[in-house]
């Protein structure tokens, strides 16, 4: 199984409530994936700042003085916000890659969950309600976000095996299903210079799309390419700096429901995930067609 939720806001007045709405949708999908949960929230893109969201198994040790150490390494002040096992490090956009590379020397055991102007990813093992509470997701604002509750099939139940997977700046992907040709695609992507953190099939799907985007493809083309090059079952929801996209494999066993109003576009593995959204009674509700790419961008 696995549960997916996504929310893209059109009405800026809802932005302060994005985290609360997404967390509620995510917790409703607990039955579909109680192993681990994760959420990607986009906010503040285009303001000249960038964020590096990092995770550590030993946050007390690894996050102590991390902002000061990074400042010494890159020469500009770093704003650090610690949330449980994760920390969000804010730097000027131009210093993002320098900060990321300094981090690998300063704190070799720290894992980068996401990097980019808007994206922040929080994910951990545990029930979705506990994961959402640990990171204070309900208090977060933003423009759009996606979330995932995991019932593991293809790799171990670990923090790094949880979704969303991010394989490019401001990009992330969540997946319901399982890919059968991920080893072959991973080998090919490695040859093309992509790097991988796990043996997970979904990470390959994410890297496949990131590689297409890096090569100059549009999000629409990148999503269409998954239909020919990836084998297996999938409903993907992909987040980018400006929006999100949805694609289902041609067999479309993995469920998906979408809702759209003047205020938002929402995605849920089941209708249950959408029932508390404002105006859902009069929303346009539909099931995305198989082998059809949908995306919304601002």
């Amino acid at each position: 199984m696995c549960g997916i939720v996504g929310l893209f806001l059109k009405d800026a007045s809802l932005e302060p409530k994005l985290g609360a709405m997404l967390a509620d949708m995510l917790v409703t999908m607990t039955d579909r994936g109680p192993d681990s949960a994760g959420i990607a929230i986009y906010s503040g893109a285009g303001e000249g700042r960038a964020k590096l969201t990092v995770q550590s198994a030993h946050p007390g040790r690894d996050f102590a003085n991390l902002d000061a150490d990074l400042k010494d390494a890159i020469g500009t002040p770093v704003l650090m916000l610690i949330k449980d096992t994760h920390a969000v490090l804010e730097v000027p956009v131009a210093q993002l890659e320098a900060a990321r590379s300094a981090l690998t020397h300063l704190r070799p055991e720290v894992k980068v969950m996401s990097a980019g102007e808007g994206i922040e990813i929080f994910k951990e093992v545990g029930l979705p309600k506990d994961v959402a509470a640990r990171f204070g997701i309900a208090k977060m604002g933003g423009t759009h976000g996606i979330g995932h509750t995991r019932m593991a099939t293809e790799s171990a139940v670990t923090t790094m095996g949880a979704h969303p997977f991010s394989t490019g700046n401001d990009q992330c992907l969540v997946h319901n299903g399982s890919l059968s040709n991920h080893n072959g695609v991973r080998r090919e992507l490695k040859r093309l210079g992509m790097t991988f953190e796990t043996e997970n099939d979904t990470e390959v799907g994410a890297a496949f799309i990131s590689h297409k985007l890096q090569s100059g493809d549009t999000l629409g083309h990148a999503l269409e390419a998954t239909l020919t090059d990836l084998d297996g079952f999938f409903t993907f929801v992909v987040g980018t700096k400006n929006g999100f996209g949805v694609v289902r494999d041609p067999i479309a066993c993995k469920p998906a429901v979408m809702a759209e109003t003047d205020q938002y576009v929402a995605f849920g593995s089941e209708y249950r995930a959408l029932v508390n959204l404002p105006g859902i009674e009069t929303a346009r509700i539909w099931e995305p067609e198989p082998a059809t790419v949908y995306f919304w961008e601002r």
């Binding site: 479309a252 469920p255 509700i285 099931e287």
Partner: protein, 229 residues
């Protein structure tokens, strides 16, 4: 009228109340409010009652239904009326994948669209869809009838046995061993009856439909194909 608020009383209480109705009962009208996409609403009912669900349902609503008439005033999630034995299920909105799967009897009416695998492995159920049906519908359908006022997706009726399929719109493609067949007088009569009972007689006429059925080439092992296995 018994009104049941799912958000207050819970699914198990609803279904155990409905299961306790055996055969004849005086409690013939039920209303379920706040379904909010819950799973298995009114599954396994075996009594001649009328149940109205005011909203959209999740997986397996009205599954295994016997005798009851169940009205969904919204859309239905995957597996609605799965393995229905008798009675009637009417959905005002759309139905998700495998609506009416393996159904042995009764009538399923979907006033919107049905998605993939509608009527898969059906064994006697009658299904009337006012809109379109998705890909792989009626896969290995054994008996019963399906009427589609709109279009059918890819691979309609793949590996079909003796179910009768009537489609008014376009069929994207036929599955293996499914062919178009001639409409004979008995088929017009059957369609007329199904359209009336499926509340679609004001929308369509029997002569607008084409009939699809089994070519019966997959019924027996063909020795010429031995090399393919």
């Amino acid at each position: 009228m018994q009104t049941f608020d799912l958000s207050k009383d819970g699914l198990r209480a609803l279904n155990s109340s409905l299961h306790a109705l055996k055969g004849q009962t005086n409690m013939t009208a039920w209303e379920v409010i706040n379904p909010k996409g819950a799973h298995a609403i009114a599954a396994g009912v075996d009594a001649p009652v009328e149940i109205t669900v005011r909203g959209s349902t999740g997986y397996y609503c009205a599954g295994m239904n016997k005798q009851a008439s169940i009205f969904i005033k919204g859309s239905a999630g995957p597996g609605v009326a799965e393995n229905m034995m008798s009675g009637k299920v009417v959905i005002d909105g759309d139905a998700s994948q495998y609506a009416g799967a393996t159904g042995r009897g009764g009538l399923l009416v979907i006033k919107g669209n049905a998605s993939s695998r509608c009527g898969i492995s059906m064994k006697g159920i009658e299904i009337v869809v006012h809109g379109n049906i998705g890909h792989m519908s009626c896969f290995m359908a054994q008996s019963g009838s399906v009427v589609v006022l709109g279009d059918a997706g890819e691979a309609l009726g793949d590996s079909l046995y003796e179910a009768r399929l009537f489609v008014r719109g376009k069929v994207k493609s036929l599955g293996a061993d499914c062919i178009e067949k001639e409409m004979r007088p008995e088929h017009y009569a059957l369609l007329e009856d199904l359209l009336r009972r499926g509340e679609a007689d004001h929308k369509a006429k029997p002569e607008q439909f084409r009939r699809y059925g089994s070519a019966r080439k997959l019924y027996n092992f063909n020795i010429d194909n031995a090399a393919a296995y």
